[in-house]
């Protein structure tokens, strides 16, 4: 009998034609917006998790100033970190401001101490040169393209850093993204010399932007963190914080989730408006079919039959809007991620997420919005006294 009532509901929906479609479109738009946002958001979360893993890695600890502030320096000795049991390797990114004289200009410029191990930790540190070659021997320097212009130098020239001569062997390729890994300085504006030479030039205390520590296999994360903290307090550094992969993803994810919840809330309002559309359609339907309701009751329909008849109608419209909205939303998400990938050159790694939870959740939600919006009209229909319904003109 439920199935028969469902069939009747379907008939009535089809019978209303355009009006049913308009109602369904209301739900469709809301669902599509919600689905697109969630799908893009989940895709973004996944992409970021993967990127963070690529940059930092699961078994890695980041040592920075509090609040992940890479611009602020902290005091630590990377050699001491390397000596901690359970640490496989470690790097620290250090820059100093030096007085630099070139053939065509001079000034106070930032110098980065480079350690080949950095490249294996941080993709951005995989320095590529636009002209010339990489660092190979002591007494060599690479210039950022802007620095090269300031100093009026090119490959083969000599520049003096704090009075000591360095031979320019290459000019760095300009990178659009960047700055994050180099302590907030763009590669455009740097000079790069070997870390050991930077230490000779600036023999004072080691002040670094950040350090990355990689753990040996099966090392105990908590224990290593404890030892790093011990080192920091030994050198008198109170402002440092440790972040591992999980902390980092948790932080980033919670920001994304917050933004996503906000946007989904707005999209949810669109869905709510769709629900109001359903309610309006159903109230109109109850009014138009008052007489029919009376007839149904006269020939033996119970209140519950009438209730179900109208609930199924609104629920089915919700479900139809949900299904179409799901497809539309996934389409929108797909296009949006294509555009975003293009704009931010995210190398195609960014794809919208399609999970079973999203599919069934959105369908169920749309059905519920439809059925709930139809609840009051349906109750009104079910409660109509048969005699009054029959007299209704």
């Amino acid at each position: 009998m439920l199935l028969d009532i469902l069939r009747l509901s379907l008939r009535n929906i089809r019978h209303r034609g355009l009006r049913s479609w308009l109602t369904v479109i209301g739900i469709l738009i809301g669902t599509a917006a919600v689905v697109a946002l969630i799908s893009v958001g989940q895709g973004l979360q996944r992409t970021i998790a993967r990127r963070v893993e690529q940059i930092v890695g699961y078994n890695t600890i980041l040592v920075t100033a509090r609040g992940l502030n890479l611009g602020q320096r902290i005091r630590l000795d990377v050699e001491a970190l390397r000596a901690i049991p359970g640490v496989k390797s470690a790097i620290a990114v250090r820059t100093e401001t030096a007085y630099v004289e070139g053939p065509g200009g001079k000034g106070f410029l930032a110098v980065l101490g480079y350690d080949p191990a950095m490249a294996e930790f941080v993709t951005e540190m995989n320095l590529t040169v636009a002209s010339g070659r990489a660092l190979e021997a002591p007494g060599e320097v690479l210039l950022g393209s802007r620095t090269a212009r300031v100093l009026g130098a090119e490959a083969g020239d000599t520049v003096r850093i704090e009075g000591r001569p360095f031979r320019v062997v290459g000019i760095l390729q300009a990178q659009r993204a960047g700055g994050f890994a180099t302590g907030g300085l763009s590669l455009l504006d740097l000079l790069v010399i070997s870390l050991s030479e930077l230490r000779q030039l600036f023999p004072g205390p080691e002040l670094v932007h950040y350090a990355v520590v990689r753990l040996a296999d099966r090392a105990d994360m908590a224990l290593v963190r404890e030892r790093i903290r011990a080192h920091l307090s030994a050198v008198g550094e109170r402002n440092a914080a440790l972040t591992d992969f999980e902390d980092l993803t948790r932080n980033i994810q919670s920001v994304i989730r917050g933004v996503q919840a906000f946007l989904a809330g707005i999209a949810g309002i669109a869905l709510l408006v769709g629900g109001v559309g359903v309610m309006n359609t159903m109230y109109t339907a109850v009014l138009e079919r008052t007489r029919e309701i009376g007839v149904l009751k006269a020939i033996g329909a119970k209140d519950s039959h009438v209730l179900l008849l109208f609930l199924f109608e609104s629920g089915l419209m919700g479900l139809a809007g949900g299904a179409l909205g799901l497809l539309t939303g996934l389409g929108v998400a797909w296009v949006a991620t294509l555009v975003v990938s293009r704009v931010f050159e995210a190398q195609g790694a960014f794809a919208p997420a399609l999970t079973a939870g999203l599919v069934f959740g959105s369908l169920l939600f749309a059905f519920a919005v439809g059925a709930l919006s139809g609840l009051f009209p349906a109750i009104r229909a079910a409660k109509l006294p048969p005699v009054e319904a029959l007299r209704y003109e």
């Binding site: 007839v295 033996g300 048969p386």
Partner: protein, 226 residues
């Protein structure tokens, strides 16, 4: 004299229109016995439809009792009344009142749907009744593809498909031309000859003439039985 199928005892019905009370029935005693064919007559507003609705358990009296096969049904809940209506009572209306987006066959099946009769049996019974009423070639037509007389015959089929103990007809010829109206009346007379209990409300003396007895209503009272 056999026991009444449905009986009204001292029934009054008062409608309330805001402050104003509109008495539709003012103390009616009436027994409908199996095999009866009664015509309710009287001017507009005299209470014919109201009386019919009370006999059909579509409404509750303001005062008095309604007995169905000897049992007081005045206080039964809505679902039980709906079930009694579905199993034991058939209604035919002046406006035919078919469901517009269902075919003739589906309209006739509808009361059986609410009784939970399985699909195959439903279809068979609906088809049989429609064929008996001469509509075997109109099964798949929708109401708006049928003439008034045909629609009323579909409505009659819908009322009869449950094989009800009581058939109630409220001005069933009111929207038909006289020839078509006569066809419907002949059908009712034929049904009554086969033993069906019928109560008919009508303005039309010609319609009332086919009944076994005529009750005249005025201002909510039965003033004459002939």
């Amino acid at each position: 004299m056999s026991a009444a199928l449905v009986e009204l005892q001292g029934v009054t019905k008062v409608y309330r229109l805001g402050e104003v009370e509109v008495p539709a029935l003012r103390g009616v005693d009436l027994a409908v016995r199996p095999g009866d064919f009664l015509a309710l007559m009287g001017p507009s507003g005299s209470g014919k439809s109201t009386l019919l609705h009370l006999l059909g358990l579509l409404d509750r009296p303001t005062a008095g009792r309604v007995l169905w096969e000897g049992a007081d049904v005045t206080r039964l809940n809505g679902a039980r009344l709906a079930e009694l209506r579905g199993r034991r009572i058939g209604f035919v209306f002046q406006m035919f009142n078919l469901v517009p987006n269902l075919t003739a066959l589906e309209n006739v099946e509808l009361p059986l749907v609410f009784l939970g009769v399985p699909w195959r049996e439903r279809r068979q019974r609906a088809r049989a009744v429609l064929e008996r009423l001469g509509l075997g070639d109109r099964l798949r037509h929708r109401p708006n593809q049928l003439s008034g007389g045909q629609q009323q015959r579909v409505a009659l089929a819908r009322a009869l498909v449950t094989d009800p103990a009581l058939l109630l007809a409220d001005e069933p010829t009111g929207n038909l031309d006289s020839a078509t109206g006569r066809e419907i009346l002949a059908l009712l007379a034929e049904l009554n000859r086969q033993g069906r209990t019928i109560v008919l409300a009508t303005h039309d003396p010609e319609a009332a003439a086919v009944a076994q007895a005529r009750l005249r209503l005025r201002d909510g009272r039965i003033v004459e039985v002939a």
